[in-house]
């Protein structure tokens, strides 16, 4: 079943066309990776899905419901959470308050408390940091917090924008392990990455983006062995 269907998406920033007709889909329970270099339009695609950017044409459907013109909070409520590039945690709020904001639309207080325990079990490093101000966390901890905050909404579909950016290799490994665990427990994941090798290693399928359009798609194995991908993104 297709959870997300993006069709012919076009986005302009002023006169500059950032997306030139992007079409792709995600099936339930998959990890789908979108790889590509800087400025290819990966983040723009994610931000359009999250409702931060209004596309000029094309459509985005989640479980056959049209999201194209909805506000971010309606999109969050329908079950899509995004962990943005650069983490964007609330740096003046405590870790606990950040997590509470991740669940800002939920009314079940008990469930929210339970889910704070759940995300802390995914990222035990945050456990001793609950009362600490977000801005004082290390980069790795901030990334863990950003993912945890997105998870607090219990989203069936999670959008991750460059979660490995600027992190030490052992932290990247840790975060990718958590992503695989989430998939195994039923979350559908759209992963945008410049780190093509690791993104394809954990993904079921992938798309390659180039300056505003999708140039290649297929299973991770197919992409990993494709000459073009090897030359441009896998270093050899």
């Amino acid at each position: 079943m297709r959870v997300l269907q993006v069709k012919d998406l076009e986005v302009y920033y002023g006169h500059i066309q950032a997306l030139k007709g992007v079409t792709f889909h995600i099936k339930k329970g998959e990890i789908v990776s979108v790889i590509g270099s800087n400025g290819a339009g990966k983040s723009t695609t994610l931000m359009s899905i999250a409702g931060l950017i209004r596309p000029s044409s094309g459509s985005i459907a989640y479980l056959e419901k049209d999201l194209t013109t909805l506000d971010p909070y309606t999109i969050v409520r329908s079950g899509i959470s995004m962990c943005p590039e650069g983490r964007r945690i609330f740096s003046n709020l405590t870790v606990r308050e950040n997590l509470i904001m991740g669940a800002v639309q939920r009314k079940d207080k008990k469930g929210v408390l339970k889910d704070i325990d759940w995300v802390l079990s995914l990222f035990p490093a945050l456990k001793d940091r609950l009362g600490q101000i977000g801005g004082t966390l290390s980069g790795g901890e901030q990334q863990m917090l950003a993912i945890s905050r997105a998870l607090m909404n219990r989203p069936p579909l999670l959008l991750l924008d460059e979660p490995s950016l600027g992190l030490a290799p052992f932290l990247v490994k840790k975060i990718f392990e958590v992503i695989v665990n989430l998939k195994n427990s039923g979350t559908t994941i759209l992963l945008v990455e410049q780190n093509a090798k690791q993104a394809l290693d954990i993904a079921d399928r992938g798309y390659v983006m180039e300056t505003g359009y999708i140039s290649l798609e297929g299973t991770s194995d197919y992409l990993k062995h494709h000459k073009k991908v090897q030359a441009a993104y896998l270093g050899g």
Partner: protein
């Protein structure tokens, strides 16, 4: 009168003046931190509150009901302002919203002159029959005492609200990172309206104390306090609510200090000395005492 009791009187006087400045500045800071809007018309909300109280009281309402009614009137005027003057301009350039706020000032002040007349009106609602406490020679005005105590109570309630409630935390989240706030699903309108409403209620309370302190009100009464509140906000760190409170009290103490301890020939230059203090603070800490050096952002 002994020197000690003179000091105590000046101290209470400064606390009371600082409390009023803190109340006005909080509203400015709240609206700025959430909407990135510099609302020059904030002082006129004090005027609306004060006139609301006076009219209700004159109409025969018991004094507590008049006060509550006037403060609520100020809150409602703030909501009207947000809805009709500022919301249509969301996302516009800072200069546009600043100019709009000047237009709102002109509208409200001239509207008040039209409705209430240009004359100063006596404002004696908090003038109790015995205006001072006499503590072994130290005279303390009851109005000052009421001002300080009620301000501390409202500050406590505000602190609980922004620390403990989901809406309060949302407000800080929006001030912190607007995009991230939208991403987690915060309803921006609700947060912005709340910030405006609370800020306006605080302006109404400040209007009550300001009028009571002077014993009179007039349609232009909001001008001086809003300018002072800007100074307080800059001293404390613009946009920070704790900074607003601190800046308000620093300003109150500075004014009383300059007025009380400068040689009589110079006390007329009180405000000049206050602005020199402002410049000195900004030279040392350009971001204000509690402000942080964060990037500019726009809604």
């Amino acid at each position: 009168m002994s020197y000690a009791s003179y000091l105590i009187q000046q101290f209470v006087n400064a606390l009371s003046l600082g409390s009023i400045y803190a109340l006005v500045t909080i509203g400015l800071a709240m609206v700025f931190s959430v909407l990135r809007l510099i609302n020059f018309a904030h002082g006129d909300l004090m005027m609306v509150g004060a006139y609301g109280i006076l009219m209700l009281w004159k109409a025969g309402a018991p004094f507590w009901l008049a006060i509550v009614g006037g403060v609520v009137a100020s809150g409602i005027m703030g909501l009207i302002m947000e809805r009709f003057a500022y919301r249509p301009l969301r996302g516009a350039a800072d200069m546009t919203t600043l100019l709009t706020s000047f237009a709102v000032v002109v509208l409200l002040e001239n509207g008040a002159i039209l409705v209430f007349g240009p004359n100063t009106r006596p404002f004696s609602i908090l003038r109790f029959s015995v205006p001072t406490y006499n503590l072994s020679g130290t005279l303390i005005s009851k109005i000052d005492l009421v001002t300080v105590i009620l301000t501390l109570c409202t500050l406590l309630i505000l602190a609980l609200f922004i620390k403990r409630t989901k809406l309060g935390i949302s407000m800080r989240a929006v001030a912190d990172d607007l995009t991230a706030s939208r991403l987690v699903g915060i309803k921006l309108n609700r947060v912005m309206v709340t910030a405006f409403f609370i800020g306006s209620l605080f302006a109404g309370v400040a209007g009550l104390f300001w009028g009571a302190r002077a014993g009179k009100i007039d349609p232009l009464m909001g001008f001086i306090p809003v300018v002072k509140a800007f100074v307080a906000a800059v001293i404390g760190g613009f946009g920070s609510i704790a900074g607003a409170v601190l800046g308000g009290y620093v300003l109150g103490f500075a004014e009383v200090l300059f007025a009380g301890f400068l040689p009589p020939n110079y006390s007329g230059y009180r405000d000049a000395f206050v602005f020199v203090l402002l410049i000195l603070i900004l030279l040392v800490r350009p971001q204000g005492i509690l402000g942080s050096r964060t990037r500019e952002r726009r809604i």
